[in-house]
């Protein structure tokens, strides 16, 4: 009997506003502890939350991008639990009536696409940060993160293995980056995932699920899901039963462990947030947000294929981020003669060099304009492709444009028939035996002559022309 896996994901995405969800404190990452707090996000008595409307708009935009329903009336609720990094003793969230419901994402799978339902997106606030390491009998609390706006994006249990879960997460990550609704930096905890995992024998009803909490790397999430699937199958095959519980992934030991302490506290006693009236949007406001929607990755990919004639692979690589797509478009605009050459040079040469240097595209020492200047010279055969790679190496280290480098390094390709013929005549005179051999039918000797001519020209002769002229002159 074969096993089926059922996975649903809850993703917490930090909305990239400048100020917090319900107060005017900064959300800047990495500040000195507790320097970005105020009576509201510290949970002082008598303080009232006031909604950051930008955070709500960005949540609506995200909902529209996943083809979801926007609830024109949504409301806030209190989720109560006791923990020192939650100074109010409750988190303001949305429970029965979230701002976004019923959307979906299409993810790439082996044989095409699979539609993953998104149950809901609700707005909520983050908690502070607790530190335990190296401390004896105490914990330290930093509340700078307390009240930072989050959207929680909850999927349907539509994923059947870890690879599909990762594909969904990558798609979602790319989407929130394109929409500019989140920095989505996983190391900074701006995009983190809880995975609900269960297994069942084919055809049987859903099994008991466990929840893997708070993972912030694609690699750990994949490992954690695979570990959990195997753990559950083993329990059931040994005649046991899976216990519904929260588990924590230990990325050092590569195993998960139960968070027993959470179980008893799992009574959140949700009730309506009395400090906030319902949040209302008009259809006009929602339409205005929709009108400001940028081109999404899928649309951009298809446009790159049709408008620039790129392969699906190239289009996919170039549309991974909004920055790289914009960079490519500016390159292709500056070297319109050959969009395919632009793609090849950007992907294989520029990104390769940046990767080696450990640099992001945004830090590229070569601008799209400068690279286009080089590609113009490849296009008009001023230099060979090989020489152009050398020029690009130099460009990475200097501010000179392609023409200056070609000039000063003497890289200009010789495409003048007279000059090339003169070299060929010399080479033939120096190798009478090979000339005779070629004329006697040894066609392979052509390669020898090309090599000799290129060498004599110190690599500057236009190879296409050398080939053509050699064939003509060797005929005799």
């Amino acid at each position: 009997m074969s096993w089926e896996t059922v996975i649903g994901l809850e993703v917490h995405v930090q909305v990239n506003t400048k100020s917090k969800q319900f107060c005017g404190c900064s959300t800047e990452f990495g500040a000195e502890p507790n320097t970005q707090t105020c009576p509201v996000c510290l949970g002082m008595p008598g303080q009232l939350p006031v909604l950051n409307i930008e955070a709500a708009r960005k949540t609506v935009l995200t909902g529209l991008a996943i083809n979801a329903d926007i609830n024109l009336i949504s409301k806030f609720d209190r989720k109560n639990y006791f923990y020192p990094d939650l100074p109010k003793g409750y988190q303001i969230t949305q429970f029965p009536l979230p701002i976004v419901e019923h959307g979906y994402l299409d993810i790439p799978v082996n044989d095409g696409e699979k539609r993953i339902g998104v149950t809901r997106i609700h707005m909520e606030e983050d908690a502070g940060k607790s530190m335990h390491e190296g401390l004896d009998g105490v914990s330290h609390i930093d509340l700078n993160r307390s009240g930072v706006p989050l959207m929680e994006i909850v999927s349907e249990p539509d994923m059947a293995n870890a690879d599909e879960a990762i594909a969904y997460l990558k798609q979602l990550h790319q989407l929130v980056c394109f929409l500019d609704v989140s920095g989505a930096n996983m190391e900074k905890g701006q995009f983190r995932c809880d995975a609900n995992v269960s297994v069942r024998r084919s055809g049987e009803p859903l099994g008991t699920r466990t929840e893997m909490k708070n993972m912030n790397s694609f690699r750990f999430i994949k490992q954690a899901i695979e570990y959990e699937v195997n753990r559950q199958i083993e329990i059931i095959e040994n005649g046991g039963a899976v216990v519904q519980e929260s588990r924590l992934w230990d990325s050092v030991k590569n195993e998960s462990r139960s968070m027993r302490s959470k179980e008893e506290a799992h009574d959140y006693r949700y009730f309506p947030e009395p400090d906030l009236p319902p949040l209302r949007f008009t259809q006009d406001e929602v339409d205005a947000i929709r009108a400001g929607m940028p081109e999404l990755p899928g649309q951009l990919r298809k446009r790159f294929e049709t408008e620039f004639g790129l392969s699906p692979y190239d289009a996919d690589v170039l549309t991974q981020t909004r920055e790289s797509a914009a960079w490519y478009e500016s390159l292709a605009a500056a070297h319109p003669a050959d969009p395919k050459r632009c793609a090849n040079w950007m992907i294989n040469e520029l990104l390769g060099r940046l990767n080696e240097a450990g640099k992001e595209l945004a830090e590229s020492p070569v601008s799209s304009q400068r690279l286009a200047g080089l590609l113009e010279r490849v296009g008009d055969h001023t230099i060979s492709g090989k020489a152009a790679k050398d020029v690009l190496d130099i460009m990475m280290e200097s501010d000179d444009d392609a023409d200056t480098i070609i000039e000063t390094k003497g890289l200009k390709q010789v495409s003048d028939t007279g000059a090339i013929d003169a070299i060929i005549v010399d080479v033939m005179a120096a190798n009478p035996g090979q000339v005779e051999g070629y004329r006697g039918g040894k066609d392979k000797l052509l390669g020898f002559f090309v090599g000799q001519v290129m060498k004599a020209s110190r690599g500057k002769a236009n190879p296409g022309m050398v080939n053509q002229r050699l064939k003509a002159l060797l005929k005799g």
Partner: protein, 93 residues
């Protein structure tokens, strides 16, 4: 009347109760719930649910940082701090 598990409520609220207090507070809480539960008898068929008793618009802020660092003053009431961090009894998962 609703039976309140006063021990569970106290645990969730992190409030320590003596047996005497628990014996006194349990029935009191049950009474309060029972009083409110009278509302359940009202026929609400055809009444629009409301999310909030006041029909007011959501107060909104623009996304602007308006608060400055007042850590020293804000931490003054805290029982213990160290290097700007609040110090609390050890909590760990």
């Amino acid at each position: 009347m609703m039976d309140i598990d006063i021990r569970k409520v106290a645990m969730l609220s992190r409030i320590r109760l003596t047996d005497d207090e628990a014996a006194e507070l349990g029935p009191q809480l049950s009474n309060i719930i029972g009083y409110v539960e009278q509302l359940g008898a009202v026929d609400t068929d055809g009444v629009e649910p409301i999310a909030h008793p006041h029909d007011i618009a959501m107060p909104q802020r623009l996304d602007v940082v308006t608060n400055v660092n007042r850590r020293e003053a804000l931490q003054a009431p805290a029982p213990q701090t160290e290097s700007g961090l609040y110090v609390v009894p050890k909590v760990i998962e």
